[in-house]
């Protein structure tokens, strides 16, 4: 019903009703912005399981993730200096539409880095030249367009690579602009500015996280302080989702990255940096000092954070996959796997190697490293930094040359 109304509103004739409300992986780091899939009962606890490549298609350059709507994937890629949004069929990877967004980008070798978000029949895409658009999910046509560069002077050196956040009726972006335009919220349906942050810290390249607190939703920003170039610092701040007001912040010494902050337990936030990971306690009512509960070099992440499951974190530090206790940051186990990204699927890790193209399913348990299945899904040699997206029993992976669907099967 809502989809039909949305279609009518935009006057786009579409024989296909794309129910984006059913989007199982609607944005960067999934439905709750924590890297976890919502489906349960996907992986049987006992018995053999295996991974099988369902389909494989060529794709252009980029680290932008794959968002999954009811029947399609949406991502960004580039070919030389042309950046496009592309929708692929979930069933077989065929291209449903491809929309050229912009020509020119700061780094043709990296391609676009922003993962689209999908909701309400729309796909929200941010191109490296800082053009934010709402596209019709069925056809790829541009419904609204905000030029962040022209309007807010957004011109970060590495381009706009932050992934938009879905929050209620808003799409929130770290724009790469300065001062009071650092974090911007737009109405999903119209692209009208809903609010512009006040007092937010510099955070050009990380992607916002989302936290539910007693007083309402908070947008978590991993900011960086580079006033002393030889010892840059980083930290996390929270903006009220309602109006972009700065609520609290903390800055750590000697460590930073672009990893999304992850909320856990009722009052904690995990901040993963390039050298270590810190658990930060947010005081009740957001008033008072923030405490760093523990800080350990267990994980080393630049863009992707570890995942949280049942009192433990999982991710890689250097060449080791680790399970770390949320209570005290102690390592429960570690296994040499080389670096990789992690998504959580029904109590298991979907672990994708950065360089070896290997996808593994590993139990998310503190007992020890228990691998259930593996497959060489991407070719070794093509760097795969983007974490997997998940929809039911199917995992979607991409690198700079292809997109692959892999199914979890029981024998």
């Amino acid at each position: 019903m809502r989809t039909a109304l949305a279609t009518l509103l935009f006057g786009v004739a579409s024989s296909l009703s794309v129910a984006a409300e059913d989007a199982p992986w609607p944005q960067w780091l999934g439905p709750a912005r924590t890297g976890a899939a919502s489906d349960t009962a996907v992986i049987p606890r006992t018995g053999a399981i295996r991974l099988k490549v369902a389909w494989r298609r060529p794709l252009g350059v980029g680290t932008a993730g794959l968002s999954v709507a009811s029947d399609r994937l949406v991502t960004l890629d580039s070919e030389a200096d042309k950046v496009s949004a592309v929708a692929l069929s979930r069933a077989d990877g065929s291209v449903l539409w491809r929309t050229l967004l912009d020509t020119g980008l700061p780094d043709e070798e990296r391609g676009p880095g922003s993962t689209p978000a999908v909701k309400g029949g729309l796909a929200f895409v941010l191109s490296p030249t800082c053009q934010l658009r709402g596209l019709d999910l069925a056809t790829g046509k541009v419904v609204w367009h905000v030029d962040l560069k022209a309007r807010f002077a957004a011109a970060p050196r590495q381009g706009c690579i932050s992934s938009p956040l879905l929050e209620g009726d808003r799409v929130i972006v770290q724009s790469g602009a300065a001062e009071d335009h650092r974090v911007l919220a737009f109405d999903q349906r119209t692209g009208e500015l809903s609010w512009s942050s006040k007092g937010a810290f510099r955070a050009n390249y990380s992607s916002p996280g989302l936290r539910e607190s007693a007083s309402g939703r908070q947008v978590l920003i991993h900011h960086t302080d580079i006033t002393t170039p030889t010892s840059p610092k980083g930290g996390v701040s929270a903006l009220r989702a309602q109006d972009g007001q700065l609520l609290w912040q903390t800055t750590l010494d000697q460590s930073w990255s672009y990893a999304t902050p992850i909320p856990f337990a009722a009052d904690r936030v995990l901040l993963a940096t390039w050298n270590d990971v810190a658990a930060i306690e947010v005081p009740a009512g957001d008033k008072g000092d923030l405490r760093t509960l523990w800080r350990v070099p267990a994980f080393t992440y630049y863009v992707n954070p570890p995942v949280y499951h049942d009192g433990h974190f999982y991710g890689t530090g250097g060449d080791l996959l680790r399970c770390v206790r949320a209570t005290d940051g102690g390592t429960a186990w570690e296994e040499k796997t080389y670096p990789g990204s992690v998504a959580l699927v029904d109590g298991h890790l979907a672990f994708l190697s950065v360089t070896a193209g290997l996808l593994r399913i590993v139990e998310a348990t503190p007992v020890g490293y228990k691998e259930r299945a593996r497959v060489e899904a991407l070719s070794p040699g093509a760097r795969a930094e983007t974490p997997p997206s998940v929809a039911g029993r199917r995992l979607f992976l991409r690198n700079d040359e292809e997109v692959v669907a892999v199914d979890l099967e029981t024998s």
Binding site: N275, Y338, T355, P380, G381
Partner: protein, 421 residues
């Protein structure tokens, strides 16, 4: 991969003219005897194939491999200390290990261990540690001969990822490019004693630290020089005394990514993040002066060296291997390959894929991209950022955990490799 991580893997080297005591077929320092990442080897047939000779574990570090005679040299961390290691080139067996100091801990994407590649000549090995200690050792025994503490003695600034400049030997001098205060950008020590022979850093050079920039030996207009690449300028320095003989300003400051490549007739190829510039240095009255000949968007965005052969330049431009006409800058061909580091041995380009850990042999010809042989050599899970070395028919490659020696033997083209693990 982002720029910072690439910077870690591709740290600057100071390159010098032909070392006085290099034996035929040696690879006495990073990027080889002329520091051009190229050697001729008439002993290798025009068609080549790859065969693994030996494989051994090595400790963490980005240090490359230098070779003199029967011994190879590299740096590694054992988890506690950083060490210089000597090994037998025929078997890989360790000859000696000498502790340099406590290990430099990896951070911000880097790994534990030494960054610089040792240099070997005249029976001595010179190894800078990442904390800034330059240690000279006896090549046969590893016994320490002398050491200099660069931050303490020369007020050198520690770069963000540690000292990564590799020494180059010329005559009886050991030269090293370090950053820091005035007059300490490029330093030359007496190889025998460690006494400072000269130091130079023209005060006009902006940007403090030159710790990741590179210099190349070249004979230009009859003067043996070192060509030094800075953020906003390139200049030539006399080997004899470090005096600056010419300077060319570059309009847009940018971090240099590759050694200037000397070409015939006083020409130099500069490759930066955004593209390449060909300079010609010539005599103008009593002085030397540089002028731009052409600019090209090719040969950008890579820390792998460019190599020259027969009027053409081969190198990476991002993910593409390209062949460019040295006279005009025009591209002859390009091929998307798994990016990595390349060196030239005769008519062969040897490429170690950074992500793939595979070694490729590609023909150095302007006609087309021609793959001659390929072999999986290092584990693709472990990133392989260190460049290959070549000496006396053997290729040496390593990453943060393994080192492998291969032979480049003459045999039918496209012979497949059996890797003995």
């Amino acid at each position: 991969m982002n720029k910072e991580r690439r910077a870690v893997a591709r740290l600057a080297l100071v390159v010098l003219a032909t070392p006085a005591f290099a034996g035929a077929g040696d690879w006495p320092q990073l990027w080889g005897p002329q520091v051009t990442a190229a050697v001729e080897d008439p002993g290798i047939a025009s068609r080549a194939a790859l065969a693994v000779i030996w494989r051994r574990p090595v400790g963490s570090g980005f240090s490359g491999i230098a070779v003199a005679g029967a011994r190879g040299f590299t740096g590694e961390s054992d988890g506690t200390n950083d060490l210089a290691v000597a090994f037998d080139v025929k078997t890989g067996a360790t000859s000696w290990r000498t502790v340099l100091g406590p290990t430099y801990r990896g951070h911000d994407g880097s790994r534990d261990g030494p960054l610089a590649t040792p240099a070997v000549g005249g029976g001595r090995v010179f190894m800078p540690g990442p904390h800034g200690l330059l240690v000279a050792m006896d090549a046969a025994s590893g016994r320490e001969l002398w050491r200099r503490d660069l931050p303490k003695d020369l007020e050198a600034k520690l770069p963000h990822y540690g000292f990564g400049s590799s020494p180059v030997l010329v005559g009886d001098l050991v030269m090293l490019q370090i950053g820091g205060k005035e007059k300490s950008g490029l330093v030359a020590f007496e190889a025998a004693t460690g006494k400072l022979a000269w130091s130079t850093l023209p005060s006009e050079t902006k940007g403090g630290s030159t710790g990741y920039t590179m210099a190349t030996p070249a004979e230009i207009a009859g003067t043996p020089q070192l060509v030094v690449m800075g953020h906003d300028r390139v200049f030539g320095v006399k080997v004899l005394d470090g005096s600056v003989v010419w300077t060319h300003l570059l309009a847009e400051p940018e971090e240099p990514t590759r050694s200037p490549l000397p070409l015939p007739n006083g020409r130099l190829l500069l490759s930066r993040y955004s593209g390449a510039i060909l300079l010609e240095v010539s005599r103008d009255g009593g002085a030397l002066k540089a002028a731009e000949v052409w600019r090209s968007p090719r040969l950008k965005n890579s820390y792998s060296p460019n190599v020259a052969q027969g009027g053409f330049v081969y190198g990476f431009s991002g993910q593409f291997l390209v062949c460019v006409d040295a006279a005009t800058g025009e591209q002859r061909w390009r091929q998307k390959v798994n990016a990595g580091t390349l060196i030239r041995v005769g008519q062969h380009l040897l490429i170690l894929g950074e992500q793939s850990g595979a070694l490729r042999v590609v023909e150095a010809t302007p006609e087309a991209y021609r793959l001659v042989a390929e072999a999986p050599v290092l584990n693709p899970g472990a990133q392989s950022s260190t460049g290959p070395s070549y000496a006396d028919g053997r290729i040496f490659v390593r990453n943060v955990e393994e080192m492998v020696a291969l032979s480049l033997t003459g045999s039918p083209a496209r012979a497949a490799l059996e890797v003995t693990r």
